[in-house]
Symmetry: C2
Subunit: 237 residues, 2 copies
DNA sequence: CGCCCGCAAAACATCGAGAATTTCCTAAAG
DNA sequence: CTTTAGGAAATTCTCGATGTTTTGCGGGCG
C-alpha cells in the first residue's frame, strides 16, 4: 500500500540497472545531437565518459541498434546512425503513416479523461507558445506532452511504441538543425488545427492537419540543413 | 581479391560474431515456437543449450527485447513475450497498415527486374501449392520469397524493416498454432488475387487483397487457438 | 491456522582480463 | 610515385569470476 512515503515504482525517473542507465544516457545524447551522426562509439571512450562498464554499455548499444539509433558493424564496433535527406524523408513518411493511424484510433476511442488531458496539455502548450522568450527545453516538454495526450486514447500498444521511436528519431534531426535561425512559422496555428479537429472528433481533419504539421516540421529542418551546407563549416567543430 | 576459393563475405550465411549467432538462434527458436511464450530465459540454461557465453547471449536478448520478441524485466531476467488474442490482433492490424503502404510503394516504383522476380516467385509458390503433400519448411520459404518479391520495389528501408519484424511476429503465432488441423482455405486464390493486381499495377486492389489475405491468416490462427482451448491439453506436454 | 520475518540458494548484473580481429603505419617492390 | 606486403598497436568481442538482487523455504509469532 506504499505507506513509506516514497514514490511508487514506475513513477521513479531513476533507472534500475546499469544497462538501463547507459541506454537512457546514450539515447538522450544521440537524440540531443551531443553524439554526432556517424561518430564512432568506442567502448573504452564511453566507459570513461559515463563511468559504466563495458558489458552494460554493449547491451545498451545492442538495444539502440535494434531501435535504429545506432548501427552495429559486426566485429567493427558501433557508430551513431548517420543522417541524410533520404533518411529524414523516410522517417517522416512512416511517422505520418503511424501517427495518423494512431490518432484516428485515439479520436474514436478516447474517453472523457482523454479529452480532459488533451485540453490541459493544449492549454499549457498555448501559454508557452504565446510567450516571447522561449525556453527550448520547457517548450519541447510541453510539445511532447501535447502530442502524447493526442495519442493517449489509442488502443494499440504497438502503434504507440512505434510512434514513440519514430518521434525521437525525428526529434534528433530537429535538434541537430536547431542552432540555426528557424524559418518563421506559425506552429501554434498548426497545433490549434489538430486540437480543434480532435476535440470535435473529426478524425479525417485531424489526420490531415497532423500530416501538414509533420511535413512542415520536416521541411523546415531540411531547409536548415540546406542553408548550413551553403555556408560551409561556420560552426563546425 | 579472394583467391582462396572461399566464399566472399556477405554471401556467407554463417554469422560473424557470437552475438549475431545467438541472436539468430534465439530469434529462430522463438518464432518457430520451440521457445514457448512466457518461458523464462535463464542465461545459465541458454549457455548450456547453445554453448555461447553469457555476454553475447545478453546482448542478443537485449536486441530481441527491442524487437518485441522478448521482454526484459529489469533485474529479473528475460522471458519470451507471451501471446494473447489482443496482441495478435494488434500485430495484424499494424502489419496490414505497414504492408499495404509498402506494397503500394512497391507497385508504383517496381521496375522490370521487380516484375520478373515477382513472376518467378509466384510461379514457384504456385507449383508448391498445387502439390498434394506439403513440405511445410519448403512451402514457408516459397511463401516468404513471394511476399518479399512483392515488396522488393518499395523505396522505404524503414517500411521494409518494420514489415520484416511484424511478419516474423505474426509467423510465430502461426507456427504455434500449427500442429492443429488447419481450417480449409484457398490460400492460392488469395495469393493469385494479390499477384494479378500487382502485375496490373493496380495498387488499390492489391492492397485490398493483401488486407483480406492477412486478416484471413489471423482469423484462421485465432480459430485454432480457440479450438485448442476447448479441447484442453490434448497435445500439450 | 495463517502471516510474516529472515536466512540460504539461485539467478542476475557487472567487472576485469584475455583471445581474436581490425586498423594503422612503415617500408620495400613495381 | 603508386601499390602491396608485413607487423605492431588499438579495438572489439568473449570468457570466467565476483558482487547484488531476487526467490524459495522453514520456523516462529500472532
Amino acid at each position: 500500500m506504499n505507506l513509506s512515503g516514497r514514490p511508487v515504482a514506475g513513477s521513479a525517473p531513476k533507472p534500475r540497472t546499469r544497462t538501463d542507465h547507459a541506454y537512457a544516457l546514450l539515447r538522450g545524447d544521440i537524440i540531443a545531437g551531443r553524439l554526432k551522426p556517424g561518430t564512432k562509439l568506442r567502448v573504452e571512450q564511453l566507459r570513461a565518459d559515463y563511468d559504466i562498464g563495458a558489458t552494460p554499455l554493449r547491451e545498451a548499444l545492442s538495444r539502440l541498434s535494434a531501435d535504429g539509433f545506432v548501427i552495429s558493424e559486426g566485429q567493427r564496433g558501433f557508430r551513431v546512425v548517420p543522417i541524410s535527406y533520404d533518411d529524414l524523408q523516410d522517417i517522416t513518411r512512416v511517422r505520418i503513416l503511424i501517427e495518423t493511424e494512431a490518432l484516428r484510433d485515439s479520436i474514436e476511442n478516447g474517453d472523457d479523461a482523454w479529452e480532459a488531458r488533451l485540453v490541459a496539455a493544449y492549454y499549457r502548450l498555448s501559454k508557452l507558445e504565446a510567450q516571447e522568450e522561449q525556453d527550448y527545453e520547457q517548450r519541447e516538454r510541453a510539445n511532447e506532452a501535447f502530442h502524447d495526450a493526442l495519442l493517449a486514447g489509442c488502443t494499440s500498444p504497438l502503434l504507440r511504441r512505434l510512434h514513440h521511436t519514430l518521434y525521437d528519431q525525428h526529434k534528433r534531426y530537429r535538434n541537430i538543425s536547431l542552432m540555426n535561425p528557424a524559418v518563421p512559422r506559425d506552429v501554434h496555428e498548426e497545433h490549434r488545427a489538430i486540437y480543434d479537429a480532435a476535440l470535435e472528433r473529426d478524425a479525417q481533419r485531424a489526420c490531415e492537419a497532423t500530416r501538414v504539421h509533420v511535413m512542415r516540421t520536416m521541411e523546415v529542418t531540411l531547409d536548415v540543413f540546406r542553408k548550413a551546407e551553403e555556408t560551409p563549416t561556420s560552426t563546425a567543430d
